[in-house]
Amino acid sequence: MRHRLALDLAALPLHGKSWSSITWWGTLAFMLIEGTGFALVIAIYLYLANIASEWPIAAPPPDLGPGTLLTVVLLVSLVPNFLVLRWADRSDVTKVRIALLVMIVFGIVPLGLRAFEFPALHTRWDSNAYGSITWILLGLHTTHLITDLIDTIVLAALMFTRHGHYKRRIGDVQDNGLYWYFVVATWLPIYAILYWGPRL
């Protein structure tokens, strides 16, 4: 059909930032999916605890040490993560590169601590329903730690190439930082339920 020109877009930027970015919204949508998944697994935990005659089943409450230490590390990691986002916003590529290296360390340390968390549960996935749900809850969060670590490593490598100067890659850094907030935020209710639920 016939056209009439009504609007010119040539002055618009070639890439949108944060809520003008498609990947930013995609990251939010995936958080919603995974957040629903976490909420459901927590609901299963509460459901099983509710029908059980004793909880935890045939085990003492988990040791507090490794899980609490990991929680502290994750909370401390929010500071460099905040800085990554701020420097990315200012397109300060050099500082972003350094901060991403720091974030890799903050990805590795919790994984190391996580290795001590599983034995601290004093149960196995195949012992009983309590063991199954605690291992799954912890395992599900661990997959998020692992995938975010790999993502951060690849992103850091990318930022040290010429691609690091493009706005789009800065956007990737921001999406990755946003996702780390999500990984930390989902851990807090899981920590409360896994470690303090059985002590109530």
């Binding site: 016939r2 009439r4 040539a10 998944g37 299963i44 099983l48 996935w125 009983n128 291992w135 789009r168």
Partner: protein, 641 residues
């Protein structure tokens, strides 16, 4: 390249407004096109090609599921029939249900969304087009896996909702339950991917000026549906994963002896399973609103109530799941709550029906085939809705639970409520997709055969159910007195099958020999009709600017458009979520082989994990490599900005 140049995203820049129309279309086709041949077929990320592929695949699964239905009708046509054995019959009805729900109904609705949403909102491709390609491959492999297993006598035999303990490690021998559970993973990954794409496309890629109150109703329906997918499908993935873990590594989620619970399965399944009904039904509602508007020749009556009804249905859909579990002996108060909420959802459904009737009443209806399908939908769906209100009541449900009454009810809702509008939608949009019209004459025969055949097949099932015939029995003794009714149902099913056959013949014939359609054969009002049929790879040479709710009716002289996009990279427009104000010119990814490679790697891991938990560890390595290959920039103009 210097950092300063990179910062500016500086390359030779050609804007659309600087080129004469013929050259512009030629240049856009180069930038957005798909290579001819097999390689192009494997690598394309064009939402129209993927949507079309999704559609064809889903209809093939419909055909296969229909064959299974006819096998069941043949078996039940007379008492004590020995044509199919009990074990094979179990596989046949499970395959029929699982295939129709997971491989046909949900994917076909998403397929229509994948094809149409970007066109209806005036953009050039769906958001995350490579994820879209990945989604299709995952869906295809999931479907092939299920049907291959069935061909090897490994088909699931546990019903489409796979209740434990029947599907658990104690009673579910072999790998049949695992095939079901992993098919779920494939199809849900595919569905979730499409849902994310549609949400982001609708939020951020609408044509400038398409504020919330100007979004076409089909797009609203797909948006609400996508949120339902996002909120509901994790439940079935958690459920099927727990089931596989119980079976493979000895967890105890559903084992009462070790603190697990079998009803937990039903809660998880139906927390997904009930919204699932609306995941199938809401797109059909959107199709109905669109078709009613076009053929009533006037703007829809009650746009705002229709949008609110969609959203209300979407929210209420999560408060109904327990009505599938009334026979399990839950607390009374809980049952009463779920009875009330089940009846409440009839309210938004009623509002929609009244708005459509009002639109037709106030308009000058043209009784073309798409509208005939909608009229068939009204009659059938209202009947299905009425039996729905009946089974929402606990005493009645307890009486007819697991009988043919329920089989009749949900086929009225699903075929009447979703398949009839879908077929109407195919007749309606076929000219846009193929550039050719389907036959009005064959279409009328199809509507007639389907409507009559459907009611003759499924209405008597209500009576059989009330006479006590349970579902999922492979045969029955003659003394039960169900023989006559079943023979009638089976004979009627032939009429229904003939209706589908006419539809398929018409579609295949018209794709080659139908009359040329032109851009807008129905004189419809939405943006997909503003571009040629079939649309070019870039959808619109100039992006449309929206000034009203029915742009092609209210801007008949000339469609307002925007200029200023570049032609040497795949460029589209990002707009604000509510007002659709222009925010940025954004690049859209090029064709790529990485989605296919990632889907192959993921498929290997998922199928392997049916047999060994270590598959998750070792199988994740190729997936990681494929995803890095997908993510890593290739130095194209789309990446460098």
């Amino acid at each position: 390249m210097s950092e300063a140049r990179a910062e500016a995203g500086d390359r030779t820049e050609t804007l659309d407004r600087d080129l004469p129309p013929a050259l512009l279309e030629q240049r856009l086709a180069v930038t957005w096109g798909t290579l001819a041949g097999f390689w192009g077929w494997l690598t394309t990320v064009d939402h129209k090609l993927i949507g079309r592929r999704y559609l064809v695949t889903a209809f093939v699964f419909l055909l296969l599921g229909g064959v299974l239905a006819m096998m069941m009708r043949l078996q039940l046509a007379r008492p004590e029939n020995r044509l199919l054995g009990a074990d094979f019959y179990d596989q046949v009805f499970t395959m029929h249900g699982a295939n129709m729900m997971f491989l046909f109904a949900v994917p076909v609705m998403e397929a229509v969304g994948v094809y149409l949403v970007p066109l209806m909102i005036g953009t050039r491709n769906i958001a995350f087009p490579r994820l879209n390609a990945f989604s299709y491959w995952m869906y295809l492999v999931g479907g092939l896996m299920l049907w291959t297993a069935f061909a090897l006598d490994m088909g699931p035999d546990i019903g489409w909702f796979a209740y434990v303990p029947l599907s658990g490690p104690q009673f579910g021998y072999g790998k049949r339950s695992d095939i079901w559970a992993q098919m779920i993973t494939f199809t849900e990954v595919a569905a979730l991917a499409v849902a994310v794409e549609i949400v982001v496309t609708v939020f951020k890629q609408r044509a400038p000026g398409m504020s919330l109150d100007r979004i076409p109703l089909f797009v609203w329906a797909m948006l609400v549906t996508s949120f339902l997918v996002i909120m509901a499908m994790p439940a079935i993935m958690v459920a099927s994963t727990s089931l596989i873990l119980d079976r493979l590594v000895g967890t105890h989620f559903f084992n009462p002896a070790e603190g697990g619970d079998v009803l937990l399965w039903q809660h998880l399944f139906w927390f997904f399973g009930h919204p699932e009904v609306y995941i199938i039904f809401l797109p059909a509602v959107g199709m109905t609103s669109t078709i009613v508007t076009t053929f009533a020749r006037r703007a829809i009556f009650g746009y705002v109530p229709l949008v609110l009804a969609l959203i209300a249905t979407g929210i209420l859909a999560f408060g109904l799941w327990v009505h599938h579990m009334f026979a399990t002996g839950l607390p009374r108060l809980g049952e009463s709550f779920f009875t009330a909420s089940s009846m409440a959802i009839a309210v938004p459904s009623g509002i929609q029906i009244f708005c459509w009737i009002a639109t037709l009443w106030l308009g000058r209806p043209v009784l073309a085939v798409p509208l005939l399908f909608i009229l068939a939908f009204f009659a059938t769906f209202v009947l299905g809705g009425l039996t729905g209100v009946m089974v929402a009541s606990v005493p009645l449900d307890t009486q007819v639970h697991d009988t043919y009454f329920v089989v009749a009810h949900f086929h009225y809702v699903l075929i009447g409520g979703a398949v009839f509008p879908l077929l109407g939608a195919i007749y309606y949009w076929f000219p846009k997709i193929t550039g050719r019209m389907m036959s009005e004459r064959l279409g009328r025969s199809a509507v007639g055969l389907l409507f009559v055949g459907f009611n003759l097949t499924f209405f008597p099932m209500h009576l059989l159910g009330l006479a006590g015939m349970p579902r999922r029995v492979y045969t029955y003794p003659a003394e039960m007195g169900w023989g006559g009714g079943n023979l009638f149902v089976s004979a009627s099913a032939v009429i229904l099958a003939a209706g589908f056959l006419v539809f398929f013949i018409d579609a295949i014939r018209s794709a080659r020999h139908g009359a040329p359609a032109g851009d807008n054969p129905w004189d419809a009002a939405t943006l997909e009709w503003a571009t040629p049929s079939p649309p070019p790879s870039y959808n619109f040479a100039f992006l449309p600017v929206v000034t009203c709710a029915n742009p092609l009716w209210d801007e008949r002289d000339a469609l307002p458009v925007a200029t200023g996009l570049r032609v040497e990279r795949r460029e589209l427009l990002v707009t604000s979520a509510a007002e659709a104000r222009p925010e940025a010119r954004e690049s859209s990814p090029r064709n790529s082989i990485w989605p296919l490679l990632s889907a192959i790697a993921t498929s290997v891991m998922l199928i392997w994990s049916i047999f060994s938990p270590w598959a998750v560890v070792w199988g994740s390595i190729p997936i990681g490599i494929a995803l890095i290959g997908w993510f890593w920039p290739k130095g194209t103009p789309e990446d460098d900005a």
